[in-house]
Symmetry: C2
Subunit: 330 residues, 2 copies
């Protein structure tokens, strides 16, 4: 018990600690993003929002960030991921529904008619989602990437979520996808709990089965969380205007506008799928994830992310592309 | 720089710190609750839920507590508080609606007919809530207590919320009251942010006014957060089953049942208003806050709080009643 610590020793430990902290601060928070104006803007927004006294400082309780899912956090081509799960569910349910054999679009889907599947209208897809109550009880694989869909999340976006979270932003998913469908994997895939998943929601009915209370899904929709439904859903579930919003299509326009109309300096980001080689390239003509000049993104000061130019890898299992120079942060 | 700290000194500081911590632990977390079985049960639930290795331990991400508001967190007699705000709003709007002068129930309310006001049916009240879009833009005072309603929150329940929160429970309000109405004061009064307020919600419509995006209220209801609507609303907004639920009337039955049907050891509490001297006494005959034997609270293992016996004061501005002996925790 005679051992002593000198103040010198103390000082050394302190300096070592400060050094570690500063190394940590200089580490690149977005390693899958190429250096350039897009990455700089994202980092600048977070730095200013979290710097006390800065005119763009945002108090912690207002740091709310909303992310679309399909095409923003994971692959949405050739069809929405949820729909592939619905097709798998449909096949597993077919034996219980013999009349589907003579009823379109079920008949063609069950017979594996690719042309019909590719050309389904959105209302037909919705009909299938409703009858299947799509959950994640089945497995579905992406044919081109030969991967389960949960491995087709965008690594640069996971880094962005982590970067925002480490600066005390609350992260919400605000997607046209089914709320219960997304809740089944959002915690595992994105670290986002069920209370932070806003999506298209069906009505549920409280009932009893053998005296035990249950919530039973009904075929009616409560609300569609797409386009104007996104700010409406945000208002219902969060009750506050986000300060950052991320999307990729005309379905996200209203959410970005709504976020921008707040009194704080805010961030609007659109992911542009322009990389046919590594993922997909699609724009104004696409049935899914329509990205059009009518969004007037640049005129409004929204950041447009070019997957081709801004991301040095798309998925965690890919190696970085050549043009990823070592990060040089300001 | 030659000064040294001996390990002995270190040890002394550590012991002092531990002493402070243990004093803190022994401080009564619920000073407005009388000692007895009710208080003991509440404390025991929290202790077990937060003790690692205990069979009733609840992981942090599942610690969700749901509180009804009217009659559970604040006064609901002689009529729901929101309704008094609606009456004040109605008066302030009357000049813009001359036809109310000849239209019931508006005519009688505006003329101050107490008998009519006391005997309004629930659908009539709803009609008034809809036309007034009641917010907190007006002030309303409770006649008996001569206090603004935000000072008529129950001090013992504020302590309970704080006690749960300090043990990493997430606190939600789940009330039949209007969601936007409650959000206007929940942060200030209970420390509960808008995202944690679930209530009866009207539809809103995303629109533009002078090119600026706005959410406009419509007269339609999206859902009624009462009775079976409470577990339905919890499912929509939280997406997880709470482990603790607090209510005071038949409107809370389903929320308590739903909470109890989970796999964890959970807590169900009903506040019984049996103190005509300090607040109100009402039961199965009451139009508002009906508390009936049909709830079978005790048979189900629900805790029934007697305001008369269990609370030594009801509001923060009251002094403690005589029977508050010094706390004796196990």
């Amino acid at each position: 018990m005679n051992q002593t610590i000198t103040w010198k020793k103390h000082l050394k430990i302190c300096l070592l600690f400060l050094l570690l902290v500063s190394v940590q601060l200089k580490a690149d928070p977005l390693p899958s993003w190429n250096n350039g104006p897009t990455k700089n803007s994202l980092i600048q927004f977070v730095r200013e929002a979290t710097e006390k006294g800065h005119p763009h400082f945002i108090p912690i309780e207002e740091r709310i960030a909303a992310f679309d899912e399909d095409g923003t956090l994971w692959v949405e081509q050739p069809l929405y991921t949820q729909f592939f799960f619905a097709l798998e569910t449909l096949k597993s349910l077919a034996a219980q529904h013999p009349k589907w054999e003579n009823q379109e679009p079920f008949k063609s889907i069950l017979s594996g008619n690719k042309e019909v599947i590719q050309n389904l209208t959105l209302p037909e897809m919705e009909q299938i989602l409703v009858v299947t109550h799509t959950g994640m009880t089945v497995e579905a694989f992406h044919k081109q990437f030969k991967k389960p869909f949960t491995e087709l999340v965008y690594q640069p976006m996971l880094e962005l979520i982590q970067f925002l979270r480490s600066h005390q932003f609350e992260i919400y998913i605000v997607s046209g996808g089914g709320q219960e469908f997304m809740r089944a994997f959002a915690q595992k895939v994105y670290g986002i709990p069920p209370s932070h998943v806003i999506g298209t929601a069906g009505k549920v009915k409280y009932d009893y089965q053998n005296g035990r209370p249950v919530l039973v899904k009904t075929p009616e929709l409560l609300f569609v969380d797409d386009k104007e439904g996104k700010p409406e859903g945000i208002n219902l579930v969060i009750g506050q205007r986000p300060v950052a919003a991320f999307g990729n299509s005309i379905g996200d326009q209203q959410m970005l506008e709504w976020t921008q109309a707040g009194s704080r300096k805010s961030l609007q980001v659109l992911i542009h799928h322009d990389d046919a080689q590594r993922e997909y390239a699609y724009g104004p003509e696409s049935k899914i994830g329509t990205f059009s000049d009518a969004l007037m993104a640049k005129q409004r000061g929204w950041i447009v992310v070019s997957i081709k130019k801004d991301w040095n890898r798309i998925f965690s299992w890919q190696s970085k592309s050549d043009d990823s120079s070592p990060p040089k942060l300001r």
